[in-house]
Amino acid sequence: MAAVHDHDVAHAHDHHPSGMMRWMMTTNHKDIGTMYLWFSFIMFLTGGVMALTIRAELFQPGLQIVNPEFFNQLTTMHGLIMIFGAIMPAFVGFANWQIPMMIGAPDMAFARMNNWSFWLLPPAALLLLSSFFVPGGAPAGGWTIYPPLSVQMGMGMDMAIFAIHIMGASSIMGSINIITTILNMRAPGMTLMKMPMFVWTWLITAYLLVLVMPVLAGAVTMLLTDRNFGTNFFNAAGGGDPVMFQHIFWFFGHPEVYIMILPAFGIVSEVIPTFARKPLFGYSSMVYATASIAILSCIVWAHHMFTAGMPVTGQLFFMYATMLIAVPTGVKVFNWTATMWRGSMTFETPMLFAIGFIFLFTLGGFSGVICAVVPIDIQVQDTYYVIAHFHYVLVSGALFGIFSGAYYWLPKWTGHMYDETLGKVHFWLTMIFFNLTFFVQHFLGLAGMPRRIPDYALQFADFNMISSIGAFGFGLSQLLFLYVVLKCIRGGAKAPAKTWEGGKTLEWTLPSPAPYHTFETPPVVR
């Protein structure tokens, strides 16, 4: 009853539960956004510790630190935690904070559901992480949980499946909320084609999420019934087909890749115009490019499984369709560079991360096009080349986007300027150590080092040592980010309402820090 009562009082404004209950029961989009961001940062450190354990084991040939079974659990859990725990919730956190402020809405459309979609995540993460402590350990068949391994594993896999179900439900609820907010709650005068790019990319991402998350839920449900209830969806002996799992999984998995990068595109599309002090070049082409990427992402899934056995016509179709994605992506990259062209640029930390994003994401995009070529893909399948490729698009793509957005909006969220010097140090450390970690992995992959193996042949020793040193540098640099954020929350120079001279979107019309309730009377956009 207390909850109901508190809620009623909260409606009278300026009076909400305090302490833990404030966070448990909040329906405020800013509170929920903050919780999403902290949750994702904790998961980022958790997955990071796993990555560092992996890199410590790979520091030199031979088995030193962990046994192979545990190594496989680490690679699997690192992937699952980073994707479902760190990157995706971080972007939902940005969406919660920024979308209502950028479209002039008072809150998200379904505030109570918003609370629920966040609070599903911590139990799901706990369930996933506690699989380390059950007999048989955590899932160890790779984050893609391919059968037959995933059918044969211990109960840790069942826990992972339920965790994926819960996280999927959370994502779907979040997406429904975001779509409804964007479609129905824009300020008068803000037509779809006047929306900030970040809002556009999230609208498209949210549609992708409701499109493919249920399919993943179906796939893991089939795994669950195969494991426990005698069905034979993926069991060859029972007339099923393990390759079918790969098709269904990647029907989810490839759009998922774009779910993790499109919001980063959106953030960069806000940051670049602000610091170049020019409007975004080719706004409408950006919108259409984002939509084309989303549509194309649904018809290219089988490029993840060229070696799984496929007729050559299938390989050709998926190869060309994949390469086609480079066109809208190229449009975006050229638009960002054209936005910077002859702009009055300054290089504050958000801009540094945005430029780092363009530079390194494009590199990752290029290695993606290389991987799309069937004969090359057959050569580099499951090697470190692929590892290097997807860390270039996920770390220096999605994560750099997140850092850029965090520095960009921290003054709006906290009311204080972050420490610019430390921010820049964080950027340069991240940039250098990231490349040290992952660039050499291209060479390892081309030379044939397979992924997900705790040991390697002697000729790979030098590059692995470089990569491990880079990884520890990268990991430790992120503690600096934590320090910068904490310092910014606790104090610092007062941030003006319009923190950045070039900021044009609605949130810069609000005071800093943004008040608990904003835009209760919608602004009018001309």
Binding site: A109, A217, G218, G230, T231, A237, G238
Partner: protein
Amino acid sequence: MNTIEANSVVMKKLLIFTVVMFAFGFALVPFYEKICEVTGLNNLLQADTLTENPQVDTTRWVTVELDANTRGLPWQFKPLQSSLRVHPGELVEVMYEVKNNSDREINGQAIPSYGPQLLAKHLKKLECFCFSKQVLKPNETRQMPVQFIIESSLPTDVSTVTISYTFFELAGASAASMATKTNQS
């Protein structure tokens, strides 16, 4: 229509869409099987058809080794002859024998495997016990035929091939669905 009503309309549409996509995930299963059937990519449970009369190449001999395994079910399973010599293009029939050593009725399904792998392209099976599930009563013994042709397109450097079958148990609920599946084909 106020915002709250408009919002709940959008939510309902999206929830329906979510449910449809969940069902779509499961619809991919029959869709996948249909595609495999139409394109002939994964026809382990179907008889091959001969497009033309096979030409028997009497100048060549191919040694066919027959192999039999069981995995996780108390059956005794063996070919009546362990190997034979055939001409490419010749129609051959071999017999396998399987015996249920337990005192319960068991559903089994045999899955073929070929060595070298490329044999799969050149082996045409007209009849096989692996096209359907086998139900064996307690202590029942059964002899089962395989009729096949090794096409003369088999590369000449291949002189020995292996045809192997492994019996797996079809457990509980799955046996019923498997039965309907195999009956259709």
